[in-house]
């Protein structure tokens, strides 16, 4: 484990991704996750700075926009804009939706259905405020607890690729990204995914995005057929 003495307390590296390092730390008494977008040596310096800056700021802005609409996201404590670090609340005792689904045993079907309804509602709510997440996967959703889950227990994270758009096309693609990730990560969950879309559908304004989802699927299929 990498220990780097800096800031409020030592940063303990817990995950090294392609774009960002995730550290755990204590920040002024609060358990904290520090997400650092590190320098990419192969990228041109100026471009690299711009990209790191843009993704860091976009992540924080979209998290804030979601929060204001009642969608749970980690509290941002501090942005270190020199090093492109976001200090945010560590969601305590949380597990990713991915791990949650993989852990389901008894009552799998009913728990999946409940989860799917929550995801569908949150996505509709998020698209309603024109936030396009950009990287919807079951690893980018955290659950605060695993029993009697409700809407406030699902925390959305990883908004670095997010954007603001009212276009049905962008919402459709957002759903498509999730569909691909969901079904490939969790085999035999077609029914659950359908519940996500059915729930999403019950909200006003969703039909255009779902129509676009159909179109994007078709395009995707054509593309894979061509190779």
């Amino acid at each position: 484990m990498d220990v780097e003495s800096e800031g409020s307390s030592a940063l303990r590296l817990i995950k090294q991704g392609a774009e960002a390092r995730i550290y755990a730390a204590d920040f002024l008494g609060r358990p904290t996750i520090v997400k650092e977008r590190f320098k990419k040596k192969f990228r041109h310096n100026v471009l690299d700075d711009k990209l790191r800056h843009k993704r860091t700021m976009q992540e924080v802005r979209s998290m804030h926009r979601c929060r204001k609409a009642g969608i749970a996201t980690p509290t941002v404590f501090f942005i270190d804009s020199n090093d492109y670090k976001i200090y945010m609340e560590e969601v305590q005792n949380s597990i990713t939706v991915r791990d949650y689904i993989n852990s389901l045993k008894e009552d799998k079907e009913s728990n999946l259905r409940k989860l799917a309804k929550i995801i569908g509602t949150i996505l509709a709510s998020m698209h309603n405020i024109q936030v396009i997440h950009g990287d919807l996967t079951t690893s980018n959703m955290l659950l605060k607890k695993t029993n009697d889950i409700e809407i406030a227990d699902l925390v959305l994270i990883d908004f670095g690729l997010s954007s603001i758009s009212s276009l049905a096309e962008d919402k459709g693609v957002d759903l498509y990204v999730l569909e691909r990730a969901f079904l490939s990560t969790h085999p035999n969950t077609e029914d659950a995914f359908k519940v996500i879309l059915d729930t999403y559908k019950t909200f006003k304004g969703s039909s255009e995005a779902l129509k676009k989802l159909d179109e994007v699927r078709l395009r995707g299929r054509k593309r894979t057929m061509v190779g």
């Binding site: 003495s5 800031g7 409020s8 307390s9 920040f27 002024l28 008494g29 609060r30 358990p31 860091t56 700021m57 924080v60 802005r61 804030h64 929060r67 204001k68 609409a69 009642g70 969608i71 749970a72 509290t75 941002v76 404590f77 501090f78 942005i79 270190d80 804009s81 020199n82 200090y87 609340e89 509602t121 509709a124 709510s125 309603n128 409700e150 809407i151 406030a152 009212s166 276009l167 049905a168 909200f203 006003k204 304004g205 969703s206």
Partner: protein, 213 residues
């Protein structure tokens, strides 16, 4: 595309009740309470280098004198109106940011203590931030906050600042007695929807942080 979409979140958890339960929950190991005589004070370590020393006063009678002391650089401290403060965490985050910006030479204001006030504010208007978060004629309660490399006993800045205040020093745990929750929600533009998923001090700190985003 202007069709108004109406998505109602149906969370069964009720909004948090505003009150002292909004004090940060995770701060147990850090604040070091020290009751000296009947003048309880508090200090906490911001990072490896800086301390934050805090004292709370009520019935302060020399606000004008304190203002002048800041202008003349005789006092090195932040005097904060407690009305817009929900918890120590809010103060320590603002102080951390001020100290950080001082160290990398990126402060937007004159000194680390004015930067603390500015960091508390959700707005980029510096003069307006001082007016809202600094000494106010509407309140005779004052939080004294000092960022220093010296610990409490050795901090001459802190000792001078608290000696300058003519008023009654009270325990910092009374900080929430002065919080004006409706004003806080308004100034930090906090929605009731947000308070369904987070508590007030987190909503405030989040808003402080996103100011630069």
């Amino acid at each position: 595309m202007t069709s108004k979409i109406d998505v109602t979140m149906t969370s069964s958890s009720s909004p948090p009740v505003l009150g002292s339960e909004h004090l940060p929950t995770g701060t147990t190991p850090l604040p070091q309470w020290s009751a000296i005589g009947n003048s309880p004070r508090m200090s906490l370590k911001l990072n490896g280098k800086y301390w934050l020393h805090i004292a709370l006063f009520c019935q302060v009678t020399n606000l004008e004198e304190l203002k002048q002391g800041l202008i003349d650089n005789k006092i090195s401290a932040a005097f904060i109106n407690p009305a817009l403060i929900v918890g120590i965490f809010q103060l320590s985050v603002a102080a951390f940011k001020a100290a950080h910006l001082q160290d990398i030479n990126k402060m937007k204001t004159r000194n680390v203590h004015s930067e603390l006030l500015y960091s508390l504010s959700p707005s980029k208007n510096i003069a307006g931030s001082f007016k809202k978060f600094g000494l106010s004629n509407d309140s005779n309660a004052v939080i004294v906050a000092v960022i220093d490399t010296d610990s409490e006993e050795n901090s001459s800045k802190f000792q001078m600042a608290i000696q300058a205040v003519k008023g009654e020093r009270i325990g910092i745990e009374k900080i929430n007695d002065f919080s004006k929750y409706e004003d806080i929600k308004k100034i930090y533009s906090i929605t009731d929807a947000e308070l369904n998923t987070t508590d007030l001090v987190d909503a405030v700190v989040n808003k402080m942080a996103v100011k630069d985003a």
